[in-house]
């Protein structure tokens, strides 16, 4: 049977506010357990939530970024369940009236095709704390630092059809929210967590199959693996005549499998009802408009601008425009060195290559944009060749200083002094009479090949620093002279 895969994603996005959504406690990641939890976060008796306006602004920015309807009136509800890392015994969330309604954005696939993915809704809620199962000798520790961190839960339509599309969706979403500056998008620290709803149906069918939900998949790679695994599992069930059970499953990255967490039949009844401690969020259209007017440039628009202004190809533009920090880095390099194309090349190949190899974030790069631009200027003004440039870049990466001081210290400046080059060319011709004779006897095509030998010798002599263009010119001149002299 040929199955069509139907995927919808729910992403929990931590918003980059300084303080929590309903209290004044800080939201910094990685603090000592329970040092960022105030009386409100601990659900002490009589404590009340007060809404953080910045979280609302960020949600509105997201809504505008996906062309969604903004709920001018939205309502917080209590979602009731007991768990030790949920101090109040309920999570303040939005159920019936979310702040962001229907929207969409486009994803680009590797073959260059573009698909439009619908967003059902996005709503504000508070994060829970963490249960710590290690280091407590059969007991569980509770860290409430994360409790009350603002989340935007972004629910997609079941529009995705493959793991590739799901990953492209997440990358585009990541690019959108980091460009908006509403989240750091750091998946390793849990700033962006993904639940996958997945079902299969016979290709061509337009009714949805029974779905399973895979919870808390926290990297692009795991999303891909979890989907592959789950598609296989459901296909096996269906092909052997079984039925998929609607349930929540957990992806175990260590074993690369999903396993059942709980069946929906015995699922919690969350007893949602409007949160009486908070008034409905009522916002003015004029406020929304003022936020719209101050929205930063979004990746899709930036990509178009890179193509138009810098003459980049579609692929380069997509890569460089996707994330605001990279885009800003690239633009600084392009402007600093004055050549957008060489800048695009170096940022993608050398910089991103080094970052990947060393598993570093752009913000951790030892070479900043002005430093890279200064290096590229030396290539563009002929001080060094591109090849030497790579050596210099590596030295910069290793912390040896800026481009000029490395070029100076290592004596890498390209030899463009014609008298010095003249001497080197003459030396090579003198030392290789046999090859000169062969050259002179050869026809045009063979001569081109043979001239490579002389260039190689000259570069060796100059330790790679000879200006290749000048070498080539001088060589041609001197060989021609040698021919004339030999004839006479």
């Amino acid at each position: 049977m040929n199955w069509e895969v139907v995927i919808g994603l729910e992403v929990h996005l931590q918003l980059a506010t300084q303080s929590k959504i309903f209290s004044g406690a800080a939201t910094r990641f990685g603090a000592e357990p329970n040092t960022q939890a105030c009386a409100v976060d601990l659900a002490m008796p009589g404590m009340l939530p007060v809404l953080n306006e910045q979280a609302v602004r960020y949600a509105v920015m997201f809504g505008l970024g996906i062309g969604a309807e903004i709920g001018l009136r939205s309502v917080f509800d209590r979602k009731n369940y007991f768990y030790p890392d949920l101090p109040k015994g309920y999570q303040i969330s939005q159920f019936q009236e979310p702040i962001v309604g229907r929207g969409h954005f486009d994803i680009q696939l590797e073959d260059g095709s573009v698909r439009r993915i619908g967003i059902t809704r996005a709503h504000l809620e508070e994060d829970a704390g963490k249960s710590l199962h290690e280091d407590f000798h059969d007991q569980t520790g509770i860290d409430l630092n994360r409790a009350g961190t603002p989340l935007l839960e972004i629910v997609s339509e079941p529009d995705l059809r493959s793991a590739e599309e799901a990953v492209a969706y997440l990358k585009t979403l990541h690019s959108l929210v980091t460009s908006l500056g509403i989240s750091d998008g750091n998946m390793a620290e849990g700033s962006m967590r993904c639940d996958i709803n997945l079902s299969l149906r016979p290709a061509g069918s337009d009714t949805l199959g029974t779905r399973a939900e895979i919870k808390n998949v926290n990297s692009f790679r795991f999303v891909e693996k979890a989907i592959h695994h789950e598609v296989e599992r459901q296909a096996d069930i269906l092909e052997s005549g079984g039925k998929v059970v609607q349930e929540t499953r957990l992806y175990d990255a260590d074993r690369d499998e999903t396993r059942s967490m709980r069946s929906k039949e015995v699922a919690n009844d969350y007893r949602y009802f409007p949160e009486p401690d908070l008034l409905p969020i009522v916002i003015e259209q004029s406020w929304v408009d003022s936020i719209r007017a101050r929205l930063p440039e979004l990746p899709a628009a930036r990509r178009e601008r890179f193509i138009a202004d810098y003459g980049l190809g579609a692929y380069d533009a997509t890569v460089l425009a996707a994330e605001r920090p990279l885009a800003e880095f690239y633009e600084a390099v392009a402007k600093g060195c004055g050549d957008a194309k060489i800048a695009a090349n170096w940022v993608q190949v050398e910089l991103l290559g080094q970052l990947n190899r060393n598993d570093l974030q752009l913000s951790e790069s030892p070479v900043d944009a002005p430093a890279l631009a200064a290096l590229l200027q030396r290539i563009l003004d002929g001080s060094i060749s591109g090849k030497i440039g790579k050596q210099v870049f590596e030295a910069m990466w290793a912390g040896e200083g800026d481009a000029d001081s490395i070029i100076e210290a290592r004596g890498l400046r390209q030899v463009s002094d014609s008298s010095a080059l003249q001497a080197m060319v003459a030396e090579v011709i003198r030392d290789n009479p046999e090859q000169v004779a062969q050259y002179l006897a050869a026809d045009e095509t063979r001569r081109k090949k043979l001239s490579g030998f002389f260039v190689g010798q000259i570069m060796k002599l100059s330790r790679g620093q000879a200006n290749p263009q000048m070498v080539s010119n001088l060589l041609n001149e001197q060989l021609a002279d040698a021919g004339e002299n030999g004839d006479t």
Partner: protein, 485 residues
């Protein structure tokens, strides 16, 4: 000293007739001597009180004239007090010492009042008799075989017995007004949002409201002045400017239109109580008020509506008491489920459990529409009844309760009979209106309360009417016999 009004005490303090320390010692002595008969206090803070009194005396000596400076008072044990146990009448919080003050507590501390202690109450404010308290029932000073009402029964008893000149209470369905009526004192439930709920242990968030309990309307006004006002930490508190609630007290009543809802004078109202209420209304009429018959047609629905909404909110408000972070925790929990179930089973009393069960049921999938949503719709109708009535009248008046205080244990085995006690008070909370109970004479030696209901944020008018009634009568000046004497 204990017979003086707050205004008179403040004058005495300023004139150096007595110091705050002397006044506080006197109150503490009375509590020590008499409260065993009433059980109106859960905690008495002698050391803290004397310390606060000394500080007040220093401020008084420096010539400071804050209206409540040096005045002793008691807080219902639902208001968090930094460093002083706040039990909410429950075993669950028997060991709970908050590291923070409620906004009400803080404002009164800042005003220079002297906190004597924390008063007894129905567990988590769930009850109409103070009998559900983990610390045992409070007793009515007029007849210690009877209840003082509830849930703010300890505050009402303490004020009536003149152990404290002032007390705070909270009112979710009548919990200030009904005990005020039963104990013969004056109590005001302000408009929802007038007084901050921050640090007030939540029972039903959309109905809870703190307010003053005292022997007169004037004393209530002085206390309300200190606690009313917007609190940025309570999103449901109102930004409406606060008035000086004493400013309108002396206003004559001529031209005032008082609405008498026929639903409040029909079947269920005990005859003798009805007579006292009519006599009090006649006094107001003599002062120039006009009595107008009105209708509040959805009154009968307020009991079922309240007993859906309040338990629904309570069921989730009380989820935080799980034995994990503070409060009662069972011994040696075997696992998480055991920790939850035993901590809650042991920590909560029967009435609290009953309301958690009712509320959980009302919010459950499949029942939400039939119960909670329907109750919210009816709540809007009840509110609309009042808004309609207020197009013709300035205040609404009637009995606070169907009859005077009932005997201890008389209704503990019949929750529904207990719930019917609240028939005249619940609608006010559902509509978010301000209302008072004012002494209106006695039936067989037991006080009866006249209820006055005002428009939203019209506390000044209610206090004005109550004060004028108290200028023309002496019901509020009558005191119960001293226990043990």
């Amino acid at each position: 000293m204990h017979d003086l009004s707050v205004a008179a005490l403040a004058l005495g303090l300023r004139n150096r007739d007595f110091s705050s320390t002397e006044l506080t010692r006197h109150c503490l002595q009375r509590i020590r001597a008499l409260d065993p008969h009433y059980n109106s206090f859960i905690s008495v803070d002698e050391v803290g009180a004397l310390d606060a009194a000394r500080q007040a005396d220093t401020r008084l000596a420096a010539g400071e004239k804050a209206p409540l400076l040096g005045i002793p008072l008691a807080h219902k044990d639902i208001f968090c007090t930094s460093g002083l146990r706040t039990s909410c009448g429950s075993k669950m919080l028997d060991n709970f010492v908050p590291p923070y003050d409620a906004t009400v507590t803080r404002r009164l501390r800042d005003a220079g009042t002297v906190l004597l202690g924390k008063t007894n109450m129905d567990e988590f404010a769930m009850g109409s008799s103070s009998e559900t308290s983990f610390y045992g029932s409070s007793r009515n000073p007029w007849d210690t075989s009877r209840v003082p009402g509830g849930s703010s029964g300890g505050s009402a008893a303490a004020v009536a017995a003149r152990l404290a000149p002032l007390a705070t209470g909270t009112d979710t369905g009548g919990s200030i007004r009904q005990p005020a009526a039963f104990c013969g004192i004056t109590g005001l439930k302000p408009t929802y949002g007038r007084v901050s709920r921050l640090g007030m242990v939540a029972y039903a968030s959309s109905l809870d409201q703190g307010g003053p309990m005292a022997r007169s309307a004037e004393d209530c006004a002085l206390l309300l002045n200190a606690i009313a006002g917007f609190d940025p930490q309570d999103s449901t508190s109102s930004e409406q400017p606060v008035e000086d609630y004493t400013a309108q007290l002396a206003q004559p009543l001529s031209g005032l239109r008082i609405g008498l809802p026929r639903e409040y004078f029909g079947e269920g109202l005990e005859q003798a109580t009805g007579e006292r209420i009519r006599a009090a209304l006649a006094l107001l009429e003599q002062q120039g008020a006009t009595l107008v018959d009105i209708a509040l047609p959805h009154t009968g629905l307020s009991i079922p509506t309240y007993y859906i909404i309040a338990p629904a909110e309570a069921s989730t408000n009380l989820s935080r008491y799980d034995g994990v972070r503070y409060g009662h925790r069972c011994e040696n929990p075997r696992n998480l489920h055991d920790l939850y179930t035993r901590s809650r089973q042991e920590g909560f009393g029967d009435e609290v459990k009953r309301r958690i069960l009712v509320g959980t049921y009302a919010l459950s999938a499949g029942y939400y529409d039939a119960y909670y949503r329907k109750a919210q719709q009816v709540r809007r109708l009840i509110r609309q009844d009042f808004l309609d009535a207020f197009t013709d009248v300035d205040v609404i008046a009637g009995p606070t309760t169907p009859g005077p205080a009932f005997g201890l244990g008389a209704k503990t085995n019949d929750p529904v009979a207990m719930y019917l006690e609240d028939v005249y008070t619940l609608a006010v909370n559902l509509a978010g209106l301000p209302a008072m109970s004012v002494p209106a004479g006695q039936v067989n030696g037991l006080p009866v309360g006249l209820q006055l209901i005002g428009q939203h944020f019209d506390e000044s008018r209610l206090l004005n009417v109550a004060h004028q009634l108290q200028q023309a009568s002496d019901w509020h000046l009558q005191s119960p016999p001293e226990a043990g004497l």
